[in-house]
């Protein structure tokens, strides 16, 4: 269904030096460094798979998505999506895939949501009956009916994302590329989006590739995870394999009023000590946060406690 073979994207970087003369000179100089944003990545994704595509900022996630959708052309290697070469038949492919960039909307900023949908309807040549069915179906699952008449600029971030997701589905594509669809959303909005994506994947057999920074997205949605770092695949496997590999620890930082002696607790993976401050890495599926809190308060009197959810950025940086 989706296949990448030795997909590579490299950029030339011209080192620029300060000063007018130097910046003029660097315009004409042939000196450059080559940076591989994506470095011979290969994978094969079958119909109905839900793949989490994760890695730190600048790892090459977005670049890969852009190559799969035909926005960028690979420096070497090839990609096939639905049997189509994105580089050669970008427009044909566009009819069959849906894309959402979480950071920016693809709707018409000043127009009511409905008008945006109608423009897309004309763009993808959707007939009236299918369109009405689309509106009904997405009102049921995303409740877009509530803000169809509202201009996009007046929507909340969560509403806007729901509208964007619906817009990406208007031509009923079988493949979805989602680049950070939950970024900046609150807990409720995230939950709505996840439920929607789950339904699309399970009941409608959509093949989905999702990039995200949110570990919960991955845990709740993805059956398979591809991790990349500095343009290279570092892991391609199930969610279980990912967990075994890197642990996905939650982090608890505790500051005591004096030096303490921590003990081993099951479910805690690692304890770092820095004076009277402890950094505890633990697995939430093995020990709950309240239980852990109870344990650690027996070692001394905590002055300050901070909890951090696992962040892909940090987790992956730490392990590679």
């Amino acid at each position: 269904m989706i296949e990448a073979r030795q997909l590579t994207k490299s950029f030339k970087i011209y080192p620029s030096k300060p000063g007018i003369l130097n910046s003029m000179r660097s315009l004409f100089s042939a000196k450059y460094e080559i940076k591989h944003a994506v470095d011979s990545i290969s994978f094969k994704i079958d119909e109905g798979e839900f793949v989490g595509y994760i890695g730190p900022n600048g790892a090459g996630k977005s670049t890969t998505i852009k190559m799969l959708s035909g926005i960028l052309h690979p420096s070497s290697g090839t990609a096939t999506v639905l049997g189509i070469d994105p580089q050669k038949e970008r427009k044909e492919l566009a009819r069959n895939i849906g894309i959402v960039f979480g950071q920016r909307t693809q709707l018409w900023w000043d127009l009511p949501v409905k008008d945006s949908f109608e423009i897309l309807k004309a763009m993808y040549k959707i007939d009236e009956q299918d369109y009405r069915h689309f509106l009904k179906q997405y009102d049921d699952i995303l409740e877009i009916g509530r803000f169809l008449e509202t201009p996009v600029r007046k929507l909340s971030l969560g509403q806007r994302m729901r509208a964007d997701l619906a817009a990406a589905m208007i031509h009923n594509p079988s493949v979805l590329f989602l680049d950070e669809p939950t970024i900046g959303l609150d807990v409720v909005a995230k939950k709505n989006i996840r439920e929607f994506l789950k339904e699309m994947n399970i009941s409608h057999q959509k093949t989905i590739i999702l990039t995200t920074h949110d570990m919960d997205d991955i845990e709740q949605l993805c059956s398979r995870v591809i991790v990349i770092n500095q343009g290279k695949t570092v892991l391609d496997g199930s969610l279980e394999q990912l967990k075994n590999h890197i642990g996905l620890p939650s982090i608890l930082k505790v500051l005591y009023d004096e030096h303490v002696n921590p003990k081993n607790i099951s479910g805690v993976e690692k304890i770092e000590q820095n004076g009277s401050e402890l950094t505890i890495l633990y697995d939430r599926s093995k020990i709950t946060s309240p239980a852990l809190l109870q344990e650690i308060s027996q070692w001394g009197t905590p002055k300050d406690i901070q909890m951090k959810e696992p962040d892909i950025e940090e987790v992956i940086q730490n392990f590679y």
Binding site: F11, T63, K66, S69, G70, I71, L72, H73, S75, Q87, R90, K91, E92, A94, R95, I99, F101, R104, Q106, W108, W109, D110, L111, D115, E118, I119, A122, M123, Y124, P151
Partner: protein, 260 residues
């Protein structure tokens, strides 16, 4: 085409949400250009002519140049503001649709307030023609005027497209626009024979604004041009449009291979 109409009507609706602003900017573009012309009129009123062109003849040149530029500004505001697609990385979102990016850009927005500039140009042309009609026959000019305006519009659009394409390499184009659009169109408000050789060379070749008004008017106002001069604007417009779209496509290929 159906899609284009749909997109354009949508953009008009979104503009109409700011009605006052719309009326204001439409009137103001008209006024600012009018005052510019009144300045010129003040000079020519005092000195009668410039290198053999009187106020009304210059008025026709001036009007055609304004109408051409304003029509382009009306139809293609997103081409004019293209640098924002590069700076804010919005260009990607044009490449995920089953329609060419140029069509999407053209249909995304219409700047109707620029019609104020076109109206001002038309008024100047009409007044000038009225005065000229006392001494010349203007039938031929009237018949051919629409062709001239369409060619002028295509030439200005092509120039703008070339300038926008530069953004694929430089990101910013505002400063180039002064060079490729504002200054040349300002120059095209007046007869080309007043300029020194090197400026004339530029306006007849790389930035061919001379063909928008000066060349056909040499014939239509009996200033020594032959009837073939009427064909030149059409040929230049077609050739330049072809070159501009080729360059644009080359720019998109470059974008595909580098991104931003």
């Amino acid at each position: 085409m159906k899609l284009y109409i749909k997109l354009v009507s949508a953009s008009i609706r979104s503009r109409m949400q700011y009605k006052m602003n719309f009326v204001f900017s439409m009137v103001s573009y008209g006024i600012v250009m009018m005052i510019d012309f009144l300045m010129l009129a003040a000079i020519l009123n005092r000195f009668n002519e410039v290198k053999g062109w009187n106020l009304y003849e210059v008025g026709i040149l001036y009007g055609i140049s304004s109408v051409s530029l304003s029509l382009y500004r009306t139809v293609a505001p997103e081409i004019h503001e293209f640098e924002k697609y590069m700076i804010e990385g919005e260009f990607d979102s044009l490449l995920i649709r089953p329609v060419s990016p140029l069509v999407l850009l053209l249909s995304k927005n219409l700047d109707l307030s620029r019609i104020g500039g076109a109206l001002q140009g038309m008024i100047i042309i009409a007044l000038s023609l009225y005065h000229i009609s006392h001494t010349h026959s203007i039938t031929m000019l009237l018949i051919y005027l629409p062709v001239i305006l369409v060619c002028g519009w295509i030439i200005s659009f092509s120039l703008a497209l070339v300038t926008a394409t530069i953004a694929f390499w430089t990101q910013r184009i505002k400063d180039f626009q002064t060079f490729t659009l504002y200054a040349p169109f300002n120059a095209a408000n007046y007869p080309m024979n007043i300029y020194p050789g090197w400026l004339k060379f530029i306006f007849f070749t790389v930035i061919p604004v001379a063909f928008i008004n000066y060349v056909p008017m040499l014939f239509l106002l009996n200033k020594g041009g032959s009837i073939y001069y009427l064909l030149l604007p059409v040929l230049v417009a077609l050739l330049f449009f072809y070159l501009a779209s080729a360059f644009w496509n080359f720019g998109i290929r470059f974008y595909h291979s580098t991104g931003t």
